[in-house]
Symmetry: C2
Subunit: 338 residues, 2 copies
C-alpha cells in the first residue's frame, strides 16, 4: 500500500525500520535477539516485521556477518539407502537448528579434491560434513586452514571430529554369530578394498572377519572371499561365484544388507534355501531387512547423520572442538536368514 513496497515483493530492513520508526540498527538488534533493546521497541519492531512478512536477505546478512548458516554435506552418491538415511538424519537436526543444507555428490577422489578446493576457496558454508569420504593429508590441511568447521562421518580423519562405527568389530560380530550358529566354513562378500583413500569401510570389516576366524582357529580361505561393489547385483554375482565352489560355504557374511539381499536371491535361484543351505548375515539395518528376514548388524545409520550434524552445530555454537571419534554402537538383529 504505502511507498515501502516498491521493490517487488521483498521488504527490506529499511521498510521495517520505517514502519517501526526506528533505525535499521535497532531492527537488526531486535530481530536477532541481541541485548540492550527496550521491550517496547522490540515488540514494535517484531510487529512491523511480521506484518511486512520480512525476512533478512540471506546474502546480505551473510556478507555482512561472515556467517552463512549453511552446512555443506558431501556424500559419494545420493541414490543409496545408506546415504539417504544419513542425509535424512542430518537434515532433521540442521533444519531444526536453523541451518540450510547444501548437498553434493562426490564420487571419485578427483572430484573430492576439486570439491574441497572449491568449497574452501569459495567459503560458502560455515560447516562441512563429509560422509564416507576419506581425506588425504593435503585435503585435510586445506580444510583445516579454512574457516569451515568439519565433521566426518563413516571414516575417521585424525584432524576432525568424526562419527563412526567400529567396522572391525562388525566383522568380528558377524563371524561370532555365525560361529555360534555352528558354521565353520564362512564366506564373505566384501566391497572393493583396493583404494584405501577411496573407501576404508570394506577393508575394516574384512579385517574383523579374518581376525575373528583366526581367533576361532579357523584358517581364512581366500576362495571364500568375494569382492562385490556394495550393490544388490554385486552381492548376487559374488554369491553365485561362491555357490559354484566345490566346497561351498555354509554361511556368508555380506558387508552390506543390499549385498545380502542379492546373495539371498542368488541362493534361492539355485534352488537352495536360506538359512538351511546357506546362512546369510548383512550389515546396515536396511528398511527391507526385516521383511526379507535378514539377520543384520544394525548400525543405526540415521543416527550417523544426526550425530554428525549435532556435533557440527555444537562446534559452530562455540563448543570446544576435539578430534574425538564418536562411536555409534551396532546391534545384532537376528532373523530367519541365520
Amino acid at each position: 500500500m504505502s511507498a515501502s513496497s516498491d521493490r517487488r515483493g521483498r521488504a527490506t530492513i529499511e521498510d521495517v525500520a520505517a514502519a517501526a520508526a526506528v533505525s535499521v540498527a535497532t531492527v537488526s538488534r531486535s530481530l536477532r535477539g541481541l541485548p540492550n533493546v527496550a521491550k517496547s521497541t522490540r515488540d514494535r519492531v517484531t510487529d512491523a516485521a511480521t506484518s511486512l512478512n520480512y525476512r533478512p536477505h540471506p546474502s546480505a546478512s551473510r556478507l555482512a556477518s561472515g556467517q552463512t548458516r549453511i552446512i555443506e554435506i558431501a556424500v559419494p552418491v545420493l541414490n543409496s539407502w545408506y546415504f539417504s538415511e544419513v542425509l535424512a538424519g542430518a537434515e532433521a537436526v540442521l533444519s531444526e537448528c536453523g541451518y540450510s543444507l547444501s548437498i553434493s555428490a562426490v564420487a571419485s577422489p578427483e572430484e573430492r579434491e576439486k570439491f574441497i578446493r572449491d568449497a574452501v576457496a569459495a567459503d560458502g558454508a560455515d560447516g562441512l560434513i563429509m560422509v564416507d569420504l576419506p581425506l588425504d593429508e593435503l585435503e585435510a590441511s586445506v580444510l583445516a586452514e579454512s574457516r569451515m568447521r568439519v565433521v566426518t562421518a563413516g571414516v575417521e580423519s585424525g584432524r576432525f571430529e568424526s562419527v563412526v562405527v567400529d567396522n572391525v568389530e562388525i566383522g568380528r560380530k558377524a563371524v561370532r554369530h555365525l560361529f555360534e550358529r555352528g558354521h565353520r566354513r564362512i564366506g564373505i562378500l566384501s566391497g572393493q578394498s583396493d583404494d584405501p583413500l577411496h573407501f576404508t569401510v570394506p577393508g575394516d570389516r574384512v579385517v574383523g572377519y579374518a581376525e575373528q576366524l583366526t581367533s576361532f582357529g579357523i584358517e581364512v580361505d581366500p576362495a571364500l572371499s568375494c569382492v562385490g561393489n556394495f550393490s544388490v547385483d554385486g552381492g548376487k554375482e559374488s554369491m553365485l561365484t561362491l555357490l559354484r565352489l566345490e566346497d561351498r560355504p555354509t554361511a556368508v557374511f555380506a558387508i552390506s544388507d543390499e549385498m545380502a539381499f542379492g546373495a539371498m536371491a542368488a541362493v534361492r535361484e539355485n534352488q537352495l534355501s536360506v538359512p538351511h543351505d546357506v546362512a546369510i548375515i548383512g550389515v546396515d539395518g536396511h528398511d527391507l531387512s526385516e521383511v526379507m528376514g535378514l539377520t543384520t548388524i544394525d548400525q543405526h545409520v540415521e543416527d550417523h547423520g544426526v550425530m554428525a550434524a549435532r556435533r557440527l552445530v555444537e562446534i559452530l555454537e562455540g563448543a570446544a572442538e576435539s578430534p574425538l571419534h564418536l562411536e555409534i554402537e551396532t546391534t545384532l538383529v537376528v532373523r530367519s536368514s541365520t
Copy 2:
C-alpha cells in the same frame, strides 16, 4: 607471502585486481566471460585468479547481482528410495550446470505452507523444485509472485511447469497386465487417499485400477482395496488383511514397489507362493525389484529429477516458460511375480 594475503586464506577480487594490475571491474568482467575485455587482459586476470586460488565470494556476488545460483528442492521425506532417486537425478544436472542444491524435507501441509512463505520472503534461491508436494491456491500464488522460478515433479500444479507420470494409466496398465495373465479377482494396496492436497498419486492410481476393471466388466470390490502407507510394512499389513478374506484375490496391484515387497513377504509368510497363489505387481522400478523377481511398472524415477532440474535450468537461462507438463513414460517390466 606478499601483503595481499592478509585476510586469512581468502583472496578477494581486489587481490586479483592488484595482482593483474587492473581494476576490480575488469576482473569481474574477465572472470565471468563478459565481452569487451582484451584477450591479453583476460589472460592476465585468469592467471592471477588461478595463482591466488580465487573464487568469488558467493554471498557478495549474490547480493550484488541478485542471482544466487542456488536451487531449492523440497521433498516430503529424504529417506525413501523414490525421493533419493529424484534427488540424485536433480543433483547431477544442477551441479553440472553450476548450481548449488539446497534440500528441505517438508512432511506435512503445515510445514509446506511455512516452507513456502519462508522461502519466498527470504528469497534465497533462484529456483525451486517441489517434489510430490501439491500446492493449494494460496501457496501457488505466493510462489508465482516471487522471483523464484518453480518446477514441480510428481504432481501437476496448473501454474508451473511440471514433470509427471500418468498415474491413472499406471493403474490401468497394472490391471491390464494382471487381466491378461488370467486374473479376474484383483486386489489393490494403495496409499492414504484421504487428503488430496497432501498427496494425489495414490488416488490417481486407484482411479486407473477401478477404471480398467470396470471396462473389463469386472465390478470393483471394496473389500479388495487396502490402504497402506507406501511403506514395506504397510504393504505387508495390507496384504495380510487381504489374505484373510474368504474369497481372496488371485492377484494384487501394489501402488509402490516397497509395498509390493511387503506384500510378497506376507504371502510367503502364509506359506503361499508368488505368483502361484497370489500374483503381485508393483510400481517404481526399485533397485531391488529385479532381485526380488517383482513385476513392476518402471517410472524411471531418476529421470524425474533430471528432467525437473533440466527444465528449471532452461527457464533460468531464459527459455520460455510454459506451464507444460512433461510426461515421463512408464514401462512394464515383467518378472516372476506375475
